[in-house]
Symmetry: C2
Subunit: 371 residues, 2 copies
């Protein structure tokens, strides 16, 4: 099997998610935990049911505290290096559901500092512009303004800097290098940055003057940051943040992560419908070389990006998804038909999202916090 | 000769200031430059005349710009790890003189972040408290409130963070390690910190939207920070900051740097007069083992901390200082007499400074800036 590599700044190779749990030392979200979530929330979000959110740290403790009457705060974020694509929305969708079902406050960090430090070609004006574009997508998902704070690091630094310093003081270069794979050529801003990503984990505890549990829904590549946070927390007198991790949203070009660096294999929330349709119609599938061959051998949904899209988000009906799998396998359904089906679903979603995104422009300031 | 070692966080060995100029690659403040300063300022400050400020970077350029009608901004600061001692005041005294003579604005940075990161035992509350104590000493020196901004990094971070990020992006771990001697065990906050010390160098250029020259009076151990700043500046479109460097204020225990870590060998601005007097009476001198021997062989002013104090700051009259040197050498003057003389001078200074420091408490807010 091909070797794979996952850090917050690089994902390469074909990711084996079960091995990643072992490698990172996280826990699978198992049946009893899912049942407990279903009981407390009244239902299970699709991304949990489909095991897209599949790994966690201390989620059981978060639920213990919740049942004891100590509600948690949600924290997630975005590195604003470009427009939002569907892969970015996934953790935010679960976050939205958690806010609604558990009445949780949300802190949403836009790391314009990080992306400036990481991307040679981006200026601070670029990352600020993208941050505000991305914030519109967050608002469009329906978060509650009185329970949501969205901030850019460069604009909310005073509230975070002291907390970041506390984490930084406890984190050696050695540790950061081991966790993130830094080299001698890494810039000193990026080396420090993980402290900034830690800061919101402790913000509510500081504000409320009592230990406030924090739950972080994120893609699993962000876990290394929070390993550092969790190591530092007890020394600083803060509770360790808990996490639920999702798999990467598939690329339309095949491969395991939708990447902003290959725009044709990602669908952006700002894509015009015809562009999104074209990308889907050009997607990598598990089809055979000819119709005749596919009728004879069947397709391979397990490697098909169109099938992944449907199973991750766009086919909510389990029975229909299963039927599609069977029909593809049996050679009854061809790729064109599947793509058409997905395109309709995606365009329906996009049209609605873009409508809400447009409206979000007038409401954005209800969500933004600044120092 | 004993090897010596100078970084912003450690000075060890007997410092050879001429070799330090070579090692750091700075320039001596030579006779023509002193003459030019005297002409422009109308006089020469004692610390320049006595060659305590003895090294520079781009001071000639600062004066060129000044003569062209492009005035400079002064920038200096303090790492608030404890109370202010006389050694800290020295660069601020020259800074005060430069403000008066050249009508220059001053930015004064209190690096409460740095000292928290560097000193295991200090909390952010400790370094903030010391920062405010130190700020009183700055104000007591007579800076002009409408031309002076004093700030704590944790309170003025929003104004500085974007500038710090720009420097950080251009500075690799490799460079920072070479300049500061970092190890794998250095914490990631301290690795980033030099970017914060750079930030004020570019603040006025950002504010005014045109290149503003900056002159930094500081002890020579701070030079490494500004080598990084000067390397980054042209890439960021800012002028390189210029510097004038002073020698370290002598320790009363002998040795080349008054250190906050041996309180008996430093005089703090908060010391009660009897404490300051005791420290001076216990000072290391260049005296012989007995009065008889000293009458016979003479003293050694070149290794005497009392003589250093007088020559650095407390004997402004060149002729009287020379006469004292001669009398000591010739065995005519004994150490007790010299100590008494210094004690009177120091106590006179302290009483006046403490009076002004007390008054500064009511005026501090005229100087502080915060985000």
């Amino acid at each position: 099997m091909q070797e794979f590599h996952v850090t917050p700044w690089e994902v390469s190779g074909e990711v084996d998610y079960d091995r990643l749990i072992e490698r990172f030392g996280t826990s699978p979200i198992d049946e009893p935990l899912l049942e407990r979530l279903r009981r407390l929330a009244g239902e299970l979000h699709l991304l949990l049911r489909r095991r897209i959110f599949y790994s966690h740290r201390s989620l059981d403790w978060i639920l213990d505290e919740y049942e004891r009457g100590n509600p948690f705060v949600l924290y997630t974020g975005r590195g604003p290096s470009g427009h939002t694509h569907l892969g970015h929305l996934m953790p935010w969708m679960l976050t939205r559901w958690l806010q609604e079902r558990f009445g949780a406050k949300l802190l949403f960090q836009l790391t314009d500092d990080e992306k400036f430090l990481f991307k040679q070609e981006l200026t601070l004006e670029d990352t600020r512009r993208f941050a505000y574009e991305n914030a519109l997508d967050v608002v469009a998902l329906g978060f509650e303004p009185d329970k949501t704070e969205i901030f850019l690091n460069t604009e909310f630094i005073k509230s975070q800097y002291r907390l970041a310093l506390k984490v930084a003081k406890r984190t050696t270069f050695s540790t950061a290098r081991a966790v993130f794979g830094f080299t001698n050529e890494t810039n000193i801003g990026l080396i420090f940055f993980t402290s900034m990503q830690s800061a919101p984990c402790f913000l509510e505890t500081e504000r409320q003057g009592k230990p406030v549990p924090v739950l972080i829904p994120c893609a699993i590549d962000q876990d290394p940051h929070f390993r550092i946070t969790r190591d530092a927390a007890p020394h600083l007198g803060y509770p360790k943040p808990a996490l639920v991790h999702c798999k990467f949203f598939p690329s339309l070009g095949g491969g395991s992560k939708m990447s902003a660096s290959s725009p044709e294999s990602s669908i952006y929330t700002t894509d015009p419908p015809e562009v999104a349709r074209r990308k889907i119609m050009n997607a990598f599938t598990g089809g055979q070389e000819s119709v005749a061959l596919q009728r004879k051998l069947g397709g391979r949904p397990e490697v098909c990006s169109v099938y992944s899209y449907l199973s991750y988000v766009f086919e909510q009906d389990d029975a229909r998804l299963e039927e599609r799998y069977r029909a593809c396998r049996g050679g009854e359904m061809l790729c064109g038909e599947c793509k058409q089906y997905l395109a309709e679903r995606v365009l329906e979603f996009l049209r609605e999202h873009q409508r809400r995104r447009e409206r979000a422009k007038d409401r954005l300031e209800e969500f933004m916090v600044r120092d």
